[in-house]
């Protein structure tokens, strides 16, 4: 029979309850609240409405929720 030994995939999420403490830990909270953080791909200002994900790429980067930006961020892993 065919192999079926692929392990479960771990997906990492941050919940909205932890969002501000996480931003604070990453040193991004003040910039986020004052609208100074931009999407690493399209340059759009990151807000509470469009924040999609965090990743590392020579420093912590943030992606917005545009479809093209989500596709780009998925390539980062």
């Amino acid at each position: 029979m065919e192999e079926n030994n692929i392990k479960k995939e771990e997906l990492e999420f941050v919940h909205d309850n932890d969002l501000l403490p996480v931003l604070e830990k990453l040193g991004l909270k003040d910039d986020f609240l004052s609208g100074k953080i931009r999407c690493a791909f399209c340059g759009e200002i990151i807000t509470d409405e469009n924040l999609h994900s965090f990743f590392e790429d020579n420093g912590v980067k943030v992606s917005c929720s545009k479809e093209d930006c989500i596709k780009e961020v998925e390539k980062k892993q």
Binding site: I6, E9, E12, V22, E67, K71
Partner: protein, 352 residues
């Protein structure tokens, strides 16, 4: 009097049996839950959803369990269609201020999960994230960008549609992800349309993704070249007419034998052919495919008589042809003009 005695004896027996049957029932239930953790998760999700109305402190637990059970149930079904195609589901890890830096250092992408009011968006984000990360990760690099995008969309839709939640997350996906993506790109729209036809015919996971996965397994991590891009594109085009076929009464067979993908298809469907000529013409065709280099032969049949024939043809071939070293049987249901019919797909594998 005799009747009363019988009842007393029966009651006496029941009193002895009942405690044992209670334990037995419990044991059966525990074995079922052990063997079907996805279904157990799904039940607990329903309880969590109910408790959430009174206690918002359970929100993270609900989101975690709901997303995990949806994806795990769907991946179980998909792996049934083509074993080993995707990971055995997911584990959800919550990241917070204590551990986010270590996850980022490991190169992880941390996706935001919003409050329960945006749960459809959460589910779609999680399914998209999972499909991109956990499905065909060694094979996708040999596909064109357009085909990768179309496969990701089709798989995300498949995962969302497997779960019955009144379709709210599926509606969200259609309105906010799928339609905008297809409307913006005519090429993507066309490729996605063909994949949809393949899915309806049962070819998407059973043949397309399975063969692409096997190709990736052989080639990964060598860098993709134009040759591989061309081969996967040709393979996709080769499957298209089969996906577009209306119900036919002929023997339908094809083969695609190139550098990395070597396979054949045979569809047992011709009315009267089996009665008059038996299995010999089918066996001859399959043997021909194997001799020409096909390494996986997919035998399809629907309706009881054709399902029986497919099983018998596969059995005879396995007994007579030493090149066949393994096989896989999948029974499923197929629709023909709204009629639900039993169907079968047997994959015969030859020594490579």
């Amino acid at each position: 009097m005799e009747g009363v005695n019988t009842i007393i004896i029966a009651w006496g027996g029941l009193k002895v049996i009942l405690p044992w049957s209670g334990w037995l029932l419990l044991l059966v239930l525990l074995i079922y839950l052990y063997k079907h953790p996805e279904e157990f998760d799904s039940w607990l999700t329903k309880i969590d959803r109910f408790l959430l109305k009174f206690w918002s402190g359970r929100e993270k637990q609900f989101i975690q369990r709901d997303i995990r059970s949806r994806i795990n149930l769907a991946s179980k079904k998909i792996n049934k269609e083509a074993e080993g195609l995707i990971t055995k589901g997911v584990d959800i890890v919550w990241v917070n201020q204590e551990n986010i830096e270590s996850f980022l250092r490991k190169g992880k992408v941390i996706v935001r999960m919003q409050h329960y009011e945006n749960h459809d968006k959460n589910i779609v984000n999680a399914a998209t994230h999972y499909v991109t990360k956990g499905v065909l990760h060694t094979a996708k690099i040999y596909l064109s960008d357009e085909m990768q995008k179309a496969l990701n969309l089709a798989l995300t839709k498949k995962i969302l549609c497997e779960e019955q939640d009144n379709g709210t997350s599926t509606d969200y996906f259609f309105a906010n992800v799928l339609r905008p993506a297809l409307n913006a790109d005519a090429g993507l729209n066309k490729t996605y349309d063909v994949i949809e036809k393949m899915e309806r015919k049962g070819l998407f996971t059973r043949i397309l993704l399975r063969e692409i996965r096997l190709m990736g397994k052989r080639l990964y991590p060598s860098a993709p070249t134009n040759r591989e891009f061309q081969e996967t594109k040709n393979f996709f085009n080769f499957l298209e007419p089969f996906a577009s076929l209306e119900s036919g009464d002929d023997i339908r067979d094809w083969e695609f034998v190139r550098d990395d993908i070597k396979m054949g298809i045979l569809f047992v469907a011709q009315k009267g052919k089996l009665e008059h000529e038996g299995y010999a013409p089918y066996i001859k065709r399959i043997t021909g495919k194997i001799n020409r280099g096909a390494q996986n032969i997919y035998l399809f049949g629907r309706k009881p008589e054709n399902v029986r024939a497919v099983k018998e043809i596969a059995k005879q071939l396995r007994a007579e042809n030493p090149k066949i070293v393994d096989y896989r049987v999948e029974k499923y249901y197929s629709f023909l003009r709204s009629e639900k019919l039993p169907a079968i797909c047997i994959v015969l594998k030859t020594d490579r």
